[in-house]
């Protein structure tokens, strides 16, 4: 299995699988979030269902692994690609028609998303699953778990701040950029593309990214415009 590290297509294979896995996660996550707008109680039920239960923990570890591998590979690939580019840069670098800005800046966008993610995890994960894990599994009994499964409360408290809403909207926009290229690029790297399907997959990519991100931004938008 060394080819997964040693060959360019192997590396891209790993990148694509982890990326597409994360797309799936994002889609689920966004769908769950949307539940909050319909019914905060139902949303909390989901939070309860996940929490520090064994399956949720395994899934979280898997998710961390996906993120970790995706990020590490991204950095390795970028470093290799910089090296392959050589030391001299073009004095005039033209833009190519039809080449998206996102595709040229995936690492940059990815890093922006990572920063956003850290903030997001401080806002939510550190107050929810991490508390529960600390309390129930690691035996840190001083941790207060009373609000740990109350996702609705955390949402309300974070998004009551309009600046947070705006930062979240920007973060989700970065995610949208990343996904619009990421999904079809992943499919392409896995070899699922041909003359007929390439344009279709590109459209699908835009649809999936847009749906996911619309579901995500629904909450900050609702708070920002004071509908809730």
């Amino acid at each position: 299995m060394r080819w997964l590290i040693n060959s360019p297509i192997g590396r891209k294979f790993v990148m694509s699988l982890t990326g597409l896995g994360l797309v799936l996660f994002a889609l689920f996550h966004a769908a769950m979030n949307f539940v909050y707008l319909i019914s905060p109680e139902a949303y909390n039920a989901i939070c309860n269902f996940l929490g520090a239960n064994w399956y949720a923990i395994i899934a979280t570890i898997g998710l961390f692994a996906l993120f970790g591998i995706h990020i590490i590979y991204a950095i390795i690939l970028s470093l290799q690609n910089r090296k392959a580019r050589g030391n001299d840069r073009y004095a005039v670098a033209g833009r190519q028609k039809g080449v998206s800005w996102a595709s040229m800046n995936m690492l940059l966008i990815g890093l922006a998303i990572l920063a956003f993610l850290v903030m997001h995890m401080v806002h939510f994960w550190s107050k929810m699953q991490m508390i529960e894990v600390g309390h129930y599994i690691l035996g840190m009994e001083h941790l207060d778990t009373s609000r740990a499964a109350d996702g609705a409360y955390h949402i309300a408290s974070v998004f009551s701040n309009p600046i947070a809403c705006i930062i979240y909207i920007i973060g989700v926009f970065a995610l949208w950029l990343h996904m619009t290229h990421g999904f079809w690029s992943g499919m392409q790297s896995l070899g699922f593309s041909n003359n007929v399907w390439l344009p279709r997959i590109k459209v699908l990519s835009a649809i999936i990214a847009t749906i996911t991100c619309l579901l995500f931004v629904a909450i900050p938008l609702v708070y920002l415009f004071g509908i809730k």
Binding site: I9, K12, R85, G86, Y90, V92, G94, R95, Q96, M104
Partner: protein
């Protein structure tokens, strides 16, 4: 109608592979827009020789867009601002009176500069030598019509085979990747029954050689496809990925 124009040429001069390069700017007067870009460089060189300077070195040969020898990164684009052509087919009518034209060599670790605008593209030959062929000796082949090839497959193979090996794909790729070049050759043979018996071996060998020679990883920006003078499609890259992954999973 074609007019005569005055232009400035900002061109990369570099005396050798290890020497630091620099830009030099030259003025050219009364260049007919009907002349080709390389003819404009011929005129510049004639001018330089007459002034006692040294002419600009650049690769070129057939001057009809098929040999793949010419290169040049012109105003930020390999083979210049026009579409679907090589530099030798570019004409001066694509430029305006008074314009400054910036000419750079291919800049990619895989293509080190030899002198001025001339680069070393022998890496592409090495990739082909690693497996870009069907293993047949001369003679003893079956009758040409004993192999039936569906029209669509032959056409797609021809689309891929149109690659001229100029290097614009790797030169324009922000990742310095040669995937479009490799995939074109792999696709041509993968689509034809003659190429199938060693398709897996070919894909693995060519990709390994590409890696060994220091070309980058494809991130599917698609810039190569846009700049390719022969419009080789990136769906060939998907086919290469497919061939390679299937080969690896079979191992």
């Amino acid at each position: 109608m074609d007019k005569d124009i005055n232009i400035k040429i900002k061109v990369w001069r570099q005396d050798g592979p290890k020497v630091k390069g620099r830009f030099e700017t030259y003025e050219l007067k009364n260049i007919s827009q009907g002349s080709s870009f390389l003819e404009m460089l011929d005129i510049l060189n004639e001018q330089l020789i007459n002034e006692g300077g040294s002419p600009v070195v650049f690769d070129h040969d057939c001057r009809e867009g098929i040999c793949g020898m010419c290169s040049l990164y012109i105003n930020g684009h390999p083979h210049g601002p026009d579409e679907d052509i090589t530099t030798c087919q570019l004409h001066m009518r694509k430029f305006k009176e008074g314009e400054t034209i910036t000419i750079e060599p291919w800049r990619s670790a895989g293509f080190p500069v030899i002198k001025d605008l001339m680069v070393d593209r022998s890496a592409y030959d090495k990739i082909i030598q690693a497996g870009g062929y069907v293993s047949v000796n001369t003679g003893g082949t079956p009758d040409a019509n004993s192999i039936l090839i569906p029209y669509e497959d032959a056409e797609m193979a021809m689309d891929a085979a149109a690659c001229v090996g100029c290097g614009a794909c790797a030169a324009t790729c922000k990742n310095g990747s040669a995937m479009l070049f490799v995939s074109a050759k792999v696709s041509q043979f993968a689509l034809l029954p003659q190429g199938r018996p060693e398709a897996a071996r070919r894909a693995k060998a060519m990709v390994a050689k590409m890696e060994e020679l220091g070309f980058g990883n494809c991130t599917n920006t698609g810039a190569c496809e846009v700049e390719c003078p022969k419009s080789i499609s990136i769906t060939n890259i998907a086919r290469l990925n497919r061939e390679y992954l299937c080969a690896k999973f079979k191992d």
